[in-house]
Structure formats: C-alpha cells, structure tokens
Amino acid sequence: MHHLLPLLVAVPLLGAALLVAVGHRLPRIAAEITGFVVSGATAALALVLLLNSSPPMVEWVGGWLPVGGESVGIVVVGDGPALGMAALVSLLTLAALAYSWRYFEEPPRGHRGAFTALMLAFQGAMCGFAIAGDLFNAFVFFELMSVTAYALTGYRIDDAKAVQGALTFGVVNSLGAYAMLLGIGLLYARTGELSMAKIGRGLDAAAGHGGPDALVLASFVLVLTGLLVKAAAVPFHFWLPDAHAVAPTPVCMLLSGVMVELGVYGVWRVYGTVFAGPGGIPAADLTRALVTLGTLTAATAAVMCWYQRHIKRLLAYSTVAHTGLFLVGIGVLTPEGDDGVALYIIGHAGVKAALFACAGVLLDRYGSVDEHTLHGRARELRTTAVLFAVGALGLAGLPPFGVALGKAVTEEAVGGPLTAVYVAASAITAGAVLRVTARVFLGLGPRPQDADSDLETSGAGEEPETAGLLSRIPDTMTTVPALLLAAAFAVGVGPGFGDLVARSVNEAGSGGAHASVHWTLPGVLLGLASTALAVALGGLAVTRPHWTTAPDWARPLRRLQSGHVGDYVAWLLMGATVLGALALPGVLGG
C-alpha cells in the first residue's frame, strides 16, 4: 500500500502535463473531463490511503532505501494528518473544477485546458507538501504550489488588478520560501540530515545536555517565517487579501479553503517532528510565539473584515482571522488542541469554499462584489441567498456544523481568556458575512453611504469571470456550494467522525496521547453564543450603517494595508524579528 503514496503527486502532475501537451487539440469538454477524472482519481486514492493510514506509512521514492541508517533518498510519509490534508486538497480541487465547469470564456487558441492543467499541478503540489517527509522536498513542493498559485491568481492576465495582486502574492511568498530554505540549510549544517525525523534526533544529539543555541533559534525563526507567510499570520498576511480579491473564484476556494491551512499544518508538522525535542525550541517558547501571533492575527483580521465592502476581501480577512485561531489552537500543544484544529480546518474548508462560490455567483451575475452598489440587487437569487446565510451561520460556529465541533474542542483545549478570542473573532467575521447577506440578498436597511474611498477597495465594476454576465445561474454554481455546506455539516454530525480524526491526528503527533472528541454542553453553548452574537452584530450593522464606517482608531490599521509591495516586505522582516524575540527566552535560559 505504501508504494502508492508518490502517486498522490505523480497522477495530478502527469495529468497536468498531458493537458498542456495535447489540451489544445482536444475539444474543450474533453479537456475538462480529463481534469475531472484525474483529480477525482487522486481524491479516491487519497481516501483509500487515508483509511489504511494506521499504522503510518513511509515510502522511499524510487527504492532509495536508507543504508546503515544513512539515506540520500526522498522520503514521503503517509500518516493520518498528511493523508487527511491530501484528501481535503483533492476533494476541494474536485469541487472547484466542478464549479468552474465550462466557466471561463473560451481561452485563446492554443491554450485550451491551461486552467485545468494549472489546477491539477496545484493539487499535486499541495498533496506533495502534505506528505513530504523531508524538509527540502517540503520546500520544493511549497515553491511549486506557490508558483502555480501565482499563475492561477493572475490567470485573467488582461485584468489590471489580477496581475497586480498576483505579483504581490508572488514576491512576498517567494521571499518567505527563501527564508525557509536558509533555515533548512542551517539545520542541514548542524545535523547533516534532511529528513524531518532525523533532523529532530540530530538536534537532540548535537545539543547533548545543553539546550538549543543561536543556530537552532535562527533556523526555527527562518523556517517558521516561510510557513507563517503561507499561513498569513499577522504581520505576514498582507499578500492574502490582495491575492484573494483578484483571483478567479474557483481558485479562491482552494487558496482560502486549504492552501493557507497547509501553512498551519506545516508549522504543526515541523515543530512536532523537528523542534519539539530537548535540542529544539522549548514548548513554552513555541506557545508564547504562536499564541501571541495567533491572537494578534485574529484580532487584526476581525477588525479589517468588519470594515470591508469588497465581498471577496471580506471573506479573505475572515480566513486570516480563522488561521489566527488555528495557530492559537496548535500553539497550546495539547492533543485536544490538535484534534480541535484538525476538525476546525475541515469544517472551515467546506464553509469558506461555499461562501466564495456564492460570491462568485454575484460577480458573474452583476459584475460587482461591492456590498454598497449591490444593495438589494440580488433579491432574485433565492437559492444563493440561503446558501450564503447558511455559510455565515456555519462560519459563526452554529452547532452542529463541523466548524462548531472543531471550535468547541479547541476552545476547551486553550481555556481561559483565549476562549473569548475564539467567540469574538468568529462572531465578528460571521456577523460581517450576515450583514452582507441582509443587505445584498434581502435589501434590508438603508443604503450604506460611501466614505473615505481613498482607504478602501470597493469591488464595483469588476469583470465577470464567465463569458459575459450570466443571465441565469448554472446548476453547478449552486450545487457545489450546497454540497460543500452539507459536507461541513456532516463533519459535525457524522457519528464517530470526530473521534476518527482525533485518533489519526494523535497517532501521528501529540506525543502519543489520545484524546476523545465529542460535543459537550459548554461547547454547544459557546457555539450558540457566538452565533447569537454574530446575528446581533449583523442586525446592528444593517440598522445602523455608521457602525460599518471605520472609526478613527481603525483607520491607521487600514492604512497599513497600503497596497505597496515594499511595505509588505518590510513587515515580513519585522515579523521575523518579533518571532525571534518571542522565542528567545528559552534559548537564553538553556
């Protein structure tokens, strides 16, 4: 069974190569069906492997087995979390391909199938990153998924905003990746190993009885900088709203639903395998760093989300807020926290992809994603309105959605005042989505006034992604979000699903401790509380429109999102410094 692991990468990449080679000779429908089959086969393979992932599988690609404990081969690891992420990636790619069925205008002659090919390459790269067992291949797949994501973001090359957002995305993410590679180089210098597990053991052996030193700290900061750029933690997050606002909707579903979460997964994997030993970074320092950055991320992004009028940017900030919550959850380093975040990520992927899919309907129907100009215009789209509202409630953590189960388990693991961060961040971001639902789909409340237009991106006057404005919404564009929401619902109610996820996460990490996952009364009450808060906030915003005009204290925060790529690079360096300072005490103490 473990010999099949590399196919998770090989099948989509070969499919992409095939489409690039012969796609222009195929009729369009054949190219799209090929993409569908390849992506679906990979998803099926990932699910089969996932069901057989206990005990975890290890595969040395091409039969380059270690000799006498030394290895030069490529190792891929198939444990629960790795294959779970690969399955999530594949299923979401399948959903995005279904959503974009005959979606774009006929591409220029000679490039038919290019979009499908890029999506498959993206899928293969993300699967590769999930199952990579050594750090250098993690870097290569990290770069491959970044590069395909830049290309997909700028897919509509005639759209001025799209190419600009893609460039910002490209510069910031590539810089993060190079920082990560510097860190990997330092780790190799210390241990002479590239496989994550062996680097971890090497660091412990090199440290002896002493603790970590400056080199370990430097490599930790550099590797985490790369991963946190991908995870869009504040202050590494500036690229994300720009990229998500301009990327084609099916791509947004993947970027927000799973690519950003792979950054969080990378942090979890690298800390647990490489830096968790006595020669690595002490647990207290990791907790301090991740909880601080995570809380900051959730708070900043919730505020930014609330004052957006560009619907796709609003959803993008909600993703940033939620990754902040994920980082806090893995930062407390408890088995329950890991289980909760895993469920939270699965539920969030379904809900967020569905919300983006509905935003795409607005874009293609009206040529706008601006909350102000769309006020009351989408009354006719009843199905989409229901889906958008259900998505918003799912995002708030209404039991029994999967998001609510994951959030409840995580809240219990973090405990104390951090619970308030979870309730507040999810309520504010979901409240903003409910406000959009009420204004755009129901036409409630007075028409909002435009203010301080120098500080915002409106989202009006966008080009639709389909060939011309849609007069009627194709079935695929409502079925896909409905299925995604149903899946997010099933994650919460499926009997034993939570325990299954918990078991496979705990088997791979968390020091072998097992935690059981189930609905608890406080969890349900907290979920209901954040939903009620979200509804209240949404209602207040609709009836009192000045609540959504940024007050003076929020203006400097919005001004930071300056749209200037140089500023974002400066923030990245600043973030790396802060990360180093947060992790420093343990190294000094050791």
């Binding site: 460039l167 810089l175 330092l186 190799y188 915002e456 300056s562």
Partner: protein, 116 residues
C-alpha cells in the same frame, strides 16, 4: 573567522536584497532584488558543504575514499534551488510585463489600487 565569513556574507546578501525590495521604485528592479535574496541561499548551502582541501565530488578520475570531497548533497540542493528560482523569476517578470501593459507603469508607488 574564515568559517563564519560565508554565513555572514549570506545574511548580508539576503538583507541587501530585502532592503532593495522594500525601497524599490521599479518592479523589474524588485524582481532582481528577489533574485538577490535567493542567491544568499546558494552561498549558504555551498558554504555548508565546504571542506578545507577537499575536491569536487566527481569520481570519474578519483578513487572513492582517496581524497576528501565537498558535500554533494548541498550541491544538488543548490541546483534544484536554481531551477526553482528561474521559474519564479520568469513568472514574476511575465506578470510585471502584463502590469506594464495594463497599468502603464511599473512603479510600485503608483500601483496602489488594492488597499484597506
């Protein structure tokens, strides 16, 4: 000191590239600065594998074990890294070209539509 020097050089190159990126007035220059940042990784990786008095790890005219050789793994990593870098640079330059066509400028100070 000689053993620390390459690492200091790598850090210097990386930070120089970042400074250039942060203050750039032209996107083509910015992509160049990104490539400068990346070349710091080449220096670092090759420095990691370096040994005094060692030769290239090519065994066509060398009996294995007769002489110390520098670490071939980091050289393979550097080659892969160069390939990755070429891809990234090419794609980003293509995007800059498209930005120049659509916006009529490549000055990041004038490209500030996406904000707030």
């Amino acid at each position: 000191m000689m053993h620390v020097l390459p690492y200091l050089v790598a850090a210097y190159i990386f930070l120089t590239g970042c400074y250039g990126l942060a203050t750039s007035r032209n996107l083509i220059h910015a992509i160049g600065c990104l490539a400068v940042c990346q070349s710091s990784t080449y220096v670092l990786l090759l420095a990691v594998g370096y040994q005094d008095g060692a030769t290239a790890p090519v065994f066509s005219d060398l009996r294995p074990g007769s002489r110390p050789v520098v670490d071939p793994v980091v050289q393979a990593l550097t080659l892969t890294d160069i390939v990755v870098g070429a891809t990234v640079t090419a794609l980003l330059l293509a995007l800059v070209l498209q930005i120049a066509k659509r916006h009529g400028t490549v000055d990041p100070d004038e490209l500030r539509e996406l904000r707030g």
